[in-house]
Symmetry: C2
Subunit: 250 residues, 2 copies
């Protein structure tokens, strides 16, 4: 589903392991692309520690500011998995052992002795939330109003987010074109600035690249209106030809 | 230099290209590790768009909250490089063409015709800031009070940050030990929770891993006191042996 409005999102990556540098986050770029393709624009991402005060404050700040907030991390069975409790606190609702969630875990673990107290913690969901299916390892995420709670393990997060995002109403999809140019950024900067000024509805980004035998700049044009996007790209292609610059369109 | 205090930092990754998913950030984990080794703890990271209001607000919020703020991105020669101006606005000081910065660019570009107006923009520095050396491409970063402004290109950022971090006074370094265990997280969760409760000064994180023919959990113990760290790790090793669990220490 798409509409004509802009739909915004913020991502909260919860986890000390990312802030220590031990774990390289793999969820931001994946979610940014998946949301973008669904017409939901990621406007901010924060990496925050496993600290209840920090999590509650960030959730409450961001859910008031953005159409959607996605969290990753902290919904497993161990003592450091505190996200569900923090979301409940942020909304001022209690946590409960959710009967549907318990049923999913019971079917997954089969042997009742494996469904110990720690694993049952994964069925503790804020009152009023709806569950997000987990096709990999059963333990569900949940949505409470505009806050969507996902796990941190990328493979499981992706499987759950794919299902979730299909249910969300997106806005206009941002379209993108890239001109990869064999020219130094500083040489083309003034020209690019003129093109940007003449096409204010198109967001133009300039990203230099370097490799041992190659250097140049990628000019990325983004707009949710295809005609405006093409006009800006064509204007820049004209300038690059006038400068006799090699480039390719991606 | 180290002291007995905790020194905190926040990282602001500035750039639409990260929020669109086009560019995978490579700076967060590198800076987290480099700062950690210098006794500076990364407590938060934010990815924010190339939007002056957002940048100014984030800089002012974070510089009041953390001992250091590091920014990456937005200090090149193009129209979308707006970080220096935003930092000046955040501090309420003007931008100026910095004579020292101009000199560095002049020596780097050699041919005066290459040092055009766009490249001279890279010498615009907030009044009162000190320059951060750029051993790769000359254009400097800068430090204004506790805010350190670095570029987004990882190779250049790393070369500049290495020099910068040596000049900063760190606190106690967080020490870390990891037990990589062949046991499911949910099976060991209750035991781990008891060890955490008995060693409240040690931060224990639990991170499941999965590969096609291998699954288990990495238990990460972190503390700035070596003796406390060893006690907590030894307690957990005792528990793992009692459970007859295979593990290795990293």
């Amino acid at each position: 589903m798409t509409s004509d409005t802009t739909v915004t999102a913020c991502l909260l990556l919860i986890g000390n392991e990312i802030l220590s540098g031990r774990t390289k986050d793999a969820n931001l770029s994946w979610l940014a692309e998946a949301l973008g393709a669904a017409g939901i624009r990621l406007r901010e991402a924060r990496v925050i520690p496993d600290d209840p005060e920090e999590i509650v404050a960030a959730v409450n700040h961001c859910r008031a500011r953005y159409d959607h907030v996605f969290t990753t991390g902290g919904i497993g069975p161990t003592h450091d998995d505190i996200t569900a409790g923090c979301i409940a606190r942020a909304f001022g609702v209690p946590l409960e052992r959710n009967a549907d969630a318990i049923g999913r875990l019971e079917r997954h673990y089969n042997d009742p002795s494996k469904l110990n107290e720690a694993r049952l913690k994964m069925a503790e969901i804020p009152v009023g939330a709806s569950l997000i299916d987990n096709p990999v390892s059963a333990a569900p995420g949940f949505t409470l109003e505009n806050v969507h709670v996902l796990p941190g393990v990328p493979k499981i997060m992706q499987a759950m987010a794919e299902g979730l995002i299909k249910t969300l109403k997106g806005g206009r999809v941002m379209l993108s074109r890239t001109l990869v140019c064999r020219i130094m950024e500083g040489t083309v900067a003034e020209t690019l600035g003129r093109v940007q000024a003449a096409h204010p509805d198109v967001e133009i980004g300039s990203y230099p690249y370097m490799s041992p035998n190659n250097a140049g700049v990628s000019l990325v044009f983004r707009c949710d209106d295809a005609a405006k996007l093409e006009l800006a790209v064509a204007a820049m292609e004209g300038e690059l030809k006038a400068l006799d610059t090699e480039y390719r369109v991606e």
